[in-house]
């Protein structure tokens, strides 16, 4: 699990790292919408080519992405299988009375690629943006909500903390798995019913620990007199540069390409 890189910032010197967090946030939200609404493989492939190019520009190691993907590969492949067997349509092949349909396989592969693309986008976004810059980005994107009296400061902070806590929760889960394995609880072998039951031995202490951690964090922020509301100053002010304009221009072209293809 330690290999899952989602939420882990990797300080490198790349064009994507240097982009304004607001640009990256607009980019990831747009990409997520495009990925989720893409219904045919050609559109998904265009998005993959785009994400591949961004990945290369970000200089994030491909091996890291692969290790992260490998962890969830079973679930992703399972979605292909489920769709292949249970989507009605033209029969492609039969296996022990069950039929794999052409439509099911197409749908399964599409969902597989969509989930992979979302994961990839998430890794690139969190891997190239430090948590504090994320807060800035969220604050900006939520700023129109200020007029509706929604606490934008708190909301953006919650989002940033949630992302920041992904790696912490992953390592905590890993630690709990080790502790429970030493009590003879098996997660990788044995009947499926027993393995599902074993998950409760992780989930319950993990929840308890997460609430405790959240309470400690809230308390430590309180004692430092932190307030999410109000006009906060920034140590490093973000500035919108030419490269951000170029990135948004490229994004606009992508939207046209995906919508018109």
């Amino acid at each position: 699990m330690r290999s899952i890189p989602l939420g882990q910032y990797l300080p490198l010197d790349s064009l994507i790292h240097r982009l304004d967090p607001r640009t990256k946030l607009v980019g990831i939200v747009t990409l997520a919408i495009l990925i989720c609404t893409a219904r045919d493989l050609s559109r998904i492939l265009i998005l993959f080519i785009f994400l591949g190019s961004v990945l290369l520009l970000s200089k994030l190691p491909v091996s890291l992405i692969w290790r992260g993907l490998r962890g969830g590969l079973f679930i992703l492949l399972f979605t292909i299988l489920v769709h292949s067997f249970f989507t009605p349509g033209r029969t492609l092949s039969s296996l022990s009375g069950f039929s794999i349909t052409y439509e099911g396989l197409y749908r399964g592969v599409s969902i597989f690629l969509q989930l992979t693309a979302l994961f990839l986008g998430g890794i690139i976004f969190t891997g190239t943006t430090p948590p504090l810059r994320l807060v800035e980005g969220f604050r900006w994107i939520f700023s129109p909500l200020r007029f509706t009296r929604i606490p934008v400061g708190e909301l953006s902070l919650i989002m940033a903390i949630a992302i920041r806590f992904i790696p912490t929760l992953i390592s905590e889960t890993e630690r709990l798995i080790k502790i429970q394995r030493s009590r003879g609880i098996e997660f990788r072998s044995g009947p499926i019913k027993r393995r599902i039951r074993s998950l409760f031995f992780i989930i319950l202490p993990l929840f308890a620990g997460t609430f405790r951690r959240a309470e400690e964090l809230a308390l430590s922020m309180e004692v430092r007199c932190f307030r999410g509301m109000g006009q906060r100053s920034q140590l490093r002010e973000s500035s919108f540069k030419e490269r951000d304009l170029t990135a948004l221009f490229v994004l606009t072209i992508l939207i046209f390409l995906v919508v018109l293809s």
Binding site: R2, S3, L10, Q180, R181, S182, R183, G184, F200, A208
Partner: protein, 276 residues
């Protein structure tokens, strides 16, 4: 059940930017019934090494032999008490919590209650705690229950990873006295990871010093703490006060005679040295 480690290396996150070599070419032999302390700065590989002995990790290179065999998964003969082990609790009562591991390892249910009470007693807890919720206990009691949960499994080797972290001296003593008793009376191999040098001096007959994934010192704590005092200080560790006292006294030109690092013996030696 001796433990042999041959040329053991282990890497975390291999092939990623987060790659860390936690252990580098370690050779070690632990005899049956030994009491060993493992010390070293944070990130020196102490816990990783101990978790290899429990079968939680597969070595990147080399091998670990427990009783002449390489373990496949968790070795039932090796008990492991993790740092903040009380985080694992989820059951309604201490009884349920203790029964889970016992059931999983297929031990006889007829003897459960006797063994549970014996394990609780070893760490200074009474039978009253049995039906209480583990979440309602004090931090010290929780930790002692976590240790008892390992003891009930009847391990031949017991590994304690910083068991006294954050505990008051009384609770710490109850855990260490209880587990050390197992070593003395039943010959259980005792491995203690700790940053408290006083504990190592009191409860271990051999100490391993680790730094950056390697064992850089191995010997009886009484000798090693004195001979390697500068190394320990350089690594950011604090040698026992008795060792610091002796070293300071010697530096002033006094020759103190002693056989063991025992406060009474040292005070006699100091008196003799002062009287010339």
């Amino acid at each position: 059940m001796s433990i042999v480690i041959e040329n053991l290396s282990f890497v975390y996150n291999e092939g990623t930017p987060f790659e860390v070599w936690a252990l580098k070419e370690i050779d070690l032999r632990i005899e049956d019934g030994e009491s060993i302390g493992i010390i070293g700065p944070n990130g020196s590989g102490k816990s990783t090494l101990a978790q290899h002995l429990h079968g939680l990790f597969k070595p990147t290179k080399g091998r670990v032999l427990i009783g002449d065999r390489e373990p496949v998964g968790i070795h039932p003969g090796v008990g492991f008490v993790f740092q903040s082990a009380e985080d694992q609790f989820f059951a309604r009562t201490v009884h349920e919590e203790m029964q889970l591991g016992y059931q999983n390892f297929g031990l006889s249910q007829d003897q459960f209650k006797d063994k549970a009470l014996e394990a609780l007693e070893m760490v200074g807890l009474s039978a009253d705690i049995f039906l209480r919720s583990p979440h309602s206990l004090s931090d010290g009691e929780k930790r002692r229950v976590a240790v008892a949960m390992t003891l009930i499994l009847g391990p031949k080797t017991l590994i304690l990873d910083e068991p006294t972290l954050g505990l008051d001296p009384l609770n710490a003593k109850k855990i260490l006295e209880g587990t050390k008793k197992l070593n003395h009376e039943k010959g259980v191999t005792f491995i203690l990871i700790s940053h408290r040098m006083e504990e190592i001096l009191e409860y271990c007959s051999r100490v391993l010093v680790m730094d950056r994934g390697k064992i850089i010192g191995d010997g009886p704590p009484q000798d090693l703490f004195i001979q390697e005092i500068e190394t320990l200080i350089r690594l950011g560790m604090e040698p026992p006060w008795l060792v610091r006292f002796l070293t300071g006294f010697k530096a002033k030109g006094y020759n103190i005679k002693y056989k063991t690092l025992n406060p009474e013996e040292i005070s006699k030696g100091v008196l003799e040295a002062l009287q010339g």
